[in-house]
């Protein structure tokens, strides 16, 4: 193992090069929150951003016919999966290995770093392209890579911004939630040496240009993974910008790092997971790109990594199985609890930290629970106190995790471990003693009233005369009226649902029905800023595609092979030329260069999902991952008989093994990482045109 990271897991939370509120800081949550509260600008951006996420989530779930039932169902899935986690992990490993991936179990952070450095070293990688991963933040991977001479570059726009600033992410899904566009422009000028105005389109364009070089030159791509599907050995990664697709498609080796709890036994469970993930996170029905990675490049594939490694990280998770905290492992890191938490919205993400170390990658209510559980209660003893127990988090959690209950449990553990402080615990026990007996209580209360003149400014002061004294004196003067009889009284709360039977629930049956599925497809895709053209025949569809290309004024078009695109070619006066993967057989570098320079990419799709306006595009012979990814415009020509209702119905009808790469495309590449302002084409295509024919 290379220098600089000899120490074990403990060091992870102890040191880092980051400074100020962003980096190491003494005083823990309270001190850091105080600084955040004084920063009025920061407060306003966090408040506004989380408010938008919250509203978007609510609208997205309201649009589902049965969101609450689906959440109940998902809760059962997560509970049943964790109950049998070791078996599902073994199944995953076996199936991923069959698909050609290499699966590694990492006991702790040091173990994971060592594994990843070994992989990077064996491929001679000097540059690592990373897509956003809280798990790699958890293991402090970037510092380890740097120390080993591998330069890590974050490619998610928000994550790149915080990397350039030398900060930690401030939100699970929106790392740069706290940055203004002026601050971002300052960072970009320093990084690129270019003069860039503080305007979001210009900033996004600069990021696209600079990071495109990273994708093309990187010797290793490192991603997280939103979930892993045991039955097929697939890793699923969702992104909006397209950087996740780049990182997993362009470098010769791809490493995915996931917590061991992120397992879906089969695609039935994965579909429920994906149906809730983006809706809960950003309010999108699906993220723009949902990539399914099943092993490395297969024989006959045009492109893709030669090697895929999957690192499954324990780092304290398995210790929670079978305990009162197991439920926290049901979390899918959507961030919904952060957006409704009045404490997070006040204190910001960087306040969630230990007494001495840098911020935890996990903030908000989930961070307040999971950080002390994974990284130590003593160092993070303030975090369970960083909640008013209001319960808003529990109401929005897609897995209905009872975070307030676990915060109370952690407080019980804090008291039991003697970490609540002598003064607090003595006072609590004295008070409980006084309250436990009526006579002591009256005495203590009288004492308190005597001492009220000394009470601190903010504490509520005892009244001059208590209610019970008033009652004793005045009760006879306040006669009870002739009695109204409330009658037999019973006020039971609704019964909790009966305990679910053990094992996975029956697969979810979609209750979606669209009178006009094509119209729904169009509306959904247009909502995500995609374009849809309905035509009457295949010939007309191809003519429309040609018209779009002419209008844009393209020079070079790259296109997949296969129906309905075979034979598609420019007319003599069209002025553009077309290249296909077959033209560059045996020359992947040449093909990649052609795609990188192309003005438009033309594909079909193996399926369409009406509900979410998604195209399903897979790698395979004659079908390149890069056609729909590198050019600024993606045009898809697809017959309508491939239109399925939604993710559930498509997966039910799907047969055969999974290709190395399948991606659900639900719009043009987009980001809202700078001031939550939409900007298209950050890494993937800025335009998506879907031409449909019967």
């Amino acid at each position: 193992m290379s220098g600089g990271i000899e120490s074990g897991q403990k060091s992870d939370q102890e040191s880092g090069p980051k400074s100020g509120l962003k980096g190491d800081h003494k005083g823990g949550f309270r001190a850091a929150a105080r600084i955040a509260i004084e920063d009025v600008k920061l407060g306003r951006s966090v408040e506004a951003a989380t408010g938008r996420f919250r509203d978007a989530r609510e609208a997205a779930l309201a649009e589902l016919p049965d969101a609450d039932t689906l959440r109940d169902h998902f809760k059962r899935i997560r509970a049943a999966t964790l109950a049998d986690l070791p078996a599902y992990l073994e199944t995953f490993k076996a199936n991923a290995t069959t698909a050609g991936a290499q699966v590694h179990f990492a006991r702790d952070a040091a173990d994971a770093r060592e594994l990843i450095l070994e992989i990077a070293g064996s491929h001679g990688a000097a540059l690592a392209a990373k897509s956003k991963s809280m798990t790699t933040e958890e293991i402090r991977l970037n510092e380890a890579l740097e120390a080993a001479g591998v330069r890590p570059v974050e490619t998610d726009l928000g994550e790149w911004i915080v990397q350039l600033a030398g900060e930690a992410p401030a939100h699970i899904i929106a790392p740069a939630i706290h940055k203004t566009k002026e601050q971002v422009a300052g960072l970009f000028v320093a990084e690129s040496g270019e003069d860039v105005p503080a305007e979001i389109p210009a900033l996004t364009a600069l990021a696209r240009r600079r990071l495109r070089e990273t994708f093309l030159r990187a010797g290793i791509g490192i991603s997280g993974g939103n979930l892993a599907v045991a039955e097929t050995g697939s890793v699923v990664l969702v992104t909006n910008e397209g950087n996740g697709r780049m990182v997993t498609s362009l470098p010769p080796v791809h490493v995915a790092v996931l917590g061991i709890e992120k397992i879906a036994p089969t695609w039935a469970e994965a579909a429920a997971w994906l149906s809730l993930l983006a809706r809960s996170a950003t309010g999108q029905p699906l993220s723009i790109y949902t990539s399914v990675i099943t092993g490395p490049k297969q024989p006959g594939d045009v492109d893709g990594p030669e090697a895929v490694h999957i690192v499954l990280l324990d780092n304290g998770r398995s210790r929670l199985l079978g305990t009162k905290y197991e439920e926290v492992l049901q979390c899918i890191r959507c961030g919904a609890c952060l957006n409704v938490c009045p404490v997070y919205r006040t204190a910001g993400g960087h306040a969630y930290r230990g007494e001495t170390g840098p911020p935890s990658p996990y903030s908000g209510p989930i961070g307040a629970v999971v950080t002390p559980l994974l990284f130590g209660l003593e160092e993070h003893k303030q975090l369970p106190q960083a909640s008013s127990l209001c319960g808003a988090c529990r109401d929005v959690c897609p897995a209905r995790i009872d975070l307030p209950r676990m915060l109370v449990e952690l407080r019980n553990d804090t008291v039991a471990a003697g970490l609540d402080g002598t003064a607090a615990s003595t006072l609590a026990r004295l008070a409980a003693g006084a309250l436990g007996s009526g006579r002591n209580f009256e005495f203590a209360a009288r004492l308190a009233r005597f001492g009220r003149r000394f009470a601190g400014g903010d504490l509520p002061r005892p009244a001059a005369k208590s209610f019970r004294e008033t009652w004793r004196e005045a009760e006879t003067n306040l006669p009870n009226p002739p009695v109204a009889d409330p009658g037999p009284v019973s006020n039971p709360l609704p019964e909790p649902p009966p305990a679910a039977p053990a094992g996975l629930p029956e697969p979810w049956r979609s209750r979606r029905q669209f009178a006009e599925p094509a119209r729904r497809f169009r509306e959904a895709l247009e909502k995500a800023h995609g374009e849809v053209i309905l035509t009457e025949s295949a010939a007309e569809a191809l003519a429309e595609a040609r018209r779009v290309l002419r209008e844009i004024g393209v020079m070079t078009v790259v296109a997949d092979e296969g129906e309905p695109l075979d034979g598609f070619a420019p007319a003599p006066d069209d002025g553009w030329r077309i290249a296909r993967p077959g033209d560059h057989a045996g020359d992947p570098e040449g093909w990649r260069a052609v795609c990188a320079r192309a003005d438009a990419g033309l594909t079909s799709a193996e399926a369409l999902l009406a509900e979410t306006g998604s195209l399903v595009v897979s790698s395979g012979p004659g079908r390149s991952r890069l056609v729909s990814l590198l050019p600024p415009i993606h045009i898809a020509v697809v017959p309508l008989d491939r239109l399925a209702t939604d993710l559930f119905t498509w997966l039910e009808g799907r047969t055969g093994p999974w290709p190395a790469n399948t991606v659900l495309v639900s719009g043009p590449s987009k980001t809202a990482d700078i001031e939550q302002t939409l900007s298209v084409g950050v890494h993937g295509p800025a335009r998506l045109v879907v031409v449909l024919f019967p």
Binding site: A432, F467, T470, W471, P481, A484, P486, L493
Partner: protein, 241 residues
């Protein structure tokens, strides 16, 4: 003879006795006999929330015993009602005898507005046709999320002739959270200021809550926001004279 047992809460008893007096007057005016079981002290919620489980269990048992002779219990506090109704059965879950006694208390316990709506306002006079107001209502966290009481307090306010105008986030926590306000005073204060800002933005000069804890918290910042903060019981008592 059915008599309502009043559980004014320890905070009302020691700090805000006028709310207890208002609750008694209101319930008697509605036609009910009210008793104050003198053995009561505290429901144990502050201990429960702070991680002092053994102390919370001790106070839960004491409260169960004190209120066992009564048929109906009424509280002018949503969060103490939630403590009794939701948390007692959990706390005592592993002891079948105490659990049954906790469930019996749960089944006869009412938050004040819940009681008034359930028994159709008793004999209280309905407000005149011209509503006064408006007021804005703060949903206390445990009352709305654990007991599901959102509609009831608004209904009784309207019955008392107050139009309710809503804040952006009526159920956003005011930052009290019991010991939270002592352990994290800066965050707690900032949360209260946001609450008062939203209340002031409605244009209603009156902010009503059904929880004494929230009342204490919000009153600390009421002057700077130019909003009057009152307990539901006091408002109802004043308007049904």
């Amino acid at each position: 003879m059915p008599t309502l047992a009043l559980l004014p809460t320890c905070l009302v008893d020691q700090v805000l006795p006028e709310i207890g007096v208002a609750t008694v007057k209101l319930l008697r005016r509605a036609g009910y006999a009210v008793d104050f079981p003198a053995g009561q002290t505290c429901c144990g919620q502050p201990f429960f929330n702070a991680g002092y489980r053994a102390e919370a269990v001790r106070l839960a048992k004491r409260t169960i015993v004190v209120f066992e002779p009564y048929e109906t219990v009424v509280l002018p506090s949503g969060s103490c009602a939630a403590m009794i109704r939701v948390e007692y059965p959990h706390l005592l879950h592993d002891d079948p005898e105490w659990r049954a006694r906790a469930e019996a208390l749960d089944a006869k316990t009412f938050e004040l507005s819940e009681f008034l709506v359930r028994f159709e306002w008793g004999a209280l006079p309905r407000a005149a046709d011209n509503p006064e107001g408006p007021a804005t209502y703060h949903d206390s966290c445990h009352m709305c999320r654990l007991l599901g009481l959102r509609e009831q307090p608004r209904r009784v306010l309207e019955m008392a002739g107050l139009a309710v105008t809503e804040m952006d986030e009526p159920d956003r926590c005011c930052g009290f959270g019991g010991t939270f306000s002592l352990k994290m005073p800066e965050v707690s204060a900032a949360m209260a200021r946001e609450k008062l800002r939203q209340a002031a933005a409605t244009g209603a000069g009156l902010l009503v809550t059904a929880d004494p804890g929230c009342l204490v918290q919000m009153r600390r910042f009421a002057d700077e926001a130019g909003v009057r903060v009152e307990h539901l019981a006091a408002v109802l008592e004043e308007r049904t004279r």
